[in-house]
């Protein structure tokens, strides 16, 4: 992954920054060019809540490129406290201990290493609430 490509998505991936529509108030994550609800183009920066509940998950046993060392790893969909849903990796938990409905919280973690000469990508993951 190129450095600019990684760098420009940092607000969303490392700070959970979303867009809040100035007209109808809907939260868009990731942000869009126009509001999918009312068509407005006016947004204000909005920090998503850092806690939520796990709606669904999967244990990945056949990884994609770059994630071979992490198998088995857990990907989940979290409904945050304001109702926004996001797809995120789960961390700090054994796959067999993950269950639908569990409370989770945001934590800063390494996602993957881009080969020997590439950069190391970091982002928000979620862990069971401490």
């Amino acid at each position: 992954m190129s450095v600019p490509r990684y760098w420009r998505e940092m607000p969303e991936r490392t700070r959970l920054e979303a867009a809040k529509c100035n007209r109808c108030g809907i939260i868009l994550f990731p942000p869009r060019g126009k509001c999918m609800n009312c068509g407005s183009e006016s947004f204000v920066q909005y920090a998503l809540p850092r806690r939520g509940k796990l709606i669904t998950f999967t244990i990945v046993r056949s990884p994609t490129k770059g994630f071979e060392k992490q198998v088995p790893y857990v990907l989940g969909m979290v409904e945050l406290e304001d109702g926004t849903k996001i797809t995120v990796p789960l961390t700090d938990v054994f796959p067999e201990d993950v269950s639908i409905g569990m409370n989770v919280e945001a934590v800063f973690r390494k996602v993957f290493e881009d080969g020997e000469s590439g950069i190391i990508e970091y982002a928000i993951k979620f862990r069971p609430t401490l």
Binding site: E12, R13, T56, T58, I59, V60, P63, T64, L75
Partner: protein, 387 residues
């Protein structure tokens, strides 16, 4: 706006397989020649081809010119359409509008895919690009794992089991065993699915469509001209495409393929038909969960009930609607950018009584549903036997 009626004049397929000896152009060439040689049209005005992965796996772009050249069609207009696994259906829609608008008379379309040109994890990675690269793929998601989350959610909400989904794979293999173009033409049992390797819980290997190569070609022309060139053609009576959020977490309901609901509704209205009128359907069962959501969202059964209808034989010939007599993506195979073209061609074959051992008796009206991504786009084509 006055649009011309459009016919599928002829079709050609290759068997879906690991075609190690055949290149991208040779595969489509084989299917296209089979379609072209069934009829004697005066000229071929355009080629609109569906393909997803050639730039990743075969280092080839500009597929339109490549294939027009190979088929001796230059200087006719040609281009490629990419809509992930929906590329084939999207190409047929593009060809339909080209003929219906009156701009072109004889248009070659279809799809081609060479997945076995990928090395190592490249094929899985390339297929994963159907999802949101920055907010799904980035985290190590694959096409399988995103659908696995949908399946896990379905099982939780509707209290269904892996076995319920396995039975859909069993039916697909029973059907595909009769289809000479199928990649996996053999029957399986529920245990085959349950005992297969877990890929991304709860999706196991036999919940998934296989990786394969293939090409499907269709020749479209104005309906009023079709009788001059063929005795066996079908009319495209309804066709539509629709989209949904590319990121599955942005959807209000994770268990509804809204692009399928909307595209089907538009296609049914255009054809002045309802789900009850459909005799045979080729649906997009990339994974058993995708097949389940598809039969529900096409209006063939209520939400959360696919497994009960399946157990009652509703999806077999003689039931409510014959689902995937070809074996579907699960058994016929899933050469991604060609799959939607296979589906439309297979429905055309059914309606022309050309499906031999996998023929559904007395099929008059058929539907093809082709999905791109995890439901982020759908292309629906409804065909009727020409009268």
């Amino acid at each position: 706006m006055i649009m011309r009626k459009v016919a599928v004049l002829s079709t050609g397929l290759t068997k879906v397989d690991k075609h190690w000896r055949k290149s991208l152009r040779e595969l489509y060439g084989e299917a296209a020649k089979a379609a072209i040689n069934q009829t004697k049209v005066p000229q071929l005005d355009a080629l609109i081809i569906g393909n997803m992965c050639a730039s990743d796996l075969s280092d080839q772009n500009n597929i339109g010119a490549l294939l027009a050249d190979y088929l001796g069609m230059t200087p006719s207009m040609a281009y490629r359409i990419e809509a992930a696994c929906g590329s084939g259906g999207a190409a047929v829609l593009g060809a339909y509008t080209a003929v219906a608008s009156g701009m072109y008379d004889f248009v070659m379309t279809g799809g081609v895919e060479k997945l076995t040109d990928g090395v190592g994890g490249n094929t899985t990675y390339s297929l994963g690009k159907a999802a949101d690269a920055e907010f799904e793929l980035f985290y190590g998601s694959s096409f399988v794992s995103l659908n696995a989350m949908i399946m896990n959610h379905y099982m939780h909400v509707y209290h269904t089991s892996r076995e319920d989904f396995a039975d859909l794979a069993v039916l697909m293999h029973k059907n595909g065993a009769r289809n000479p173009y199928a990649q996996l033409p053999f029957p399986i049992t529920r245990d085959t699915v349950m005992n297969s390797d877990m890929i991304s819980d709860p999706i196991s290997l036999y919940d998934c469509a296989p990786v394969g190569d293939g090409a499907a070609a269709l020749l479209l022309c104005p309906l009023e001209d079709a009788p001059k060139y063929s005795d066996t053609f079908v009319e495209i009576v309804g066709i539509a495409g629709a989209t949904d959020t590319i990121n599955i977490s942005s959807r209000t309901d994770l268990l509804t393929l809204n692009s399928t609901v909307v595209a089907a509704d538009r296609a049914y209205k255009m054809a002045k038909l309802t789900p009850k009128d459909i005799d045979v359907a080729e649906i997009h069962d990339t994974f058993t969960i995708t097949g389940a959501l598809s039969v529900e969202d096409l209006g063939f059964c209520e939400k959360g009930k696919f497994h009960k209808m399946l157990a009652n034989g509703a999806f077999e010939a003689g039931g409510i609607v014959a689902i995937n007599p070809s074996g579907g993506l699960k058994s016929r195979g899933h050469p991604v950018g060609a799959t939607g073209a296979y589906q439309v061609a297979e429905i055309a074959m059914q309606l022309c009584n050309k499906a031999d051992k996998w023929q559904v008796p007395d099929a008059e009206v058929g539907l093809a549903q082709n999905i791109g991504g995890s439901g982020s786009s759908t292309y629906i084509t409804i065909l009727r036997r020409a009268r």
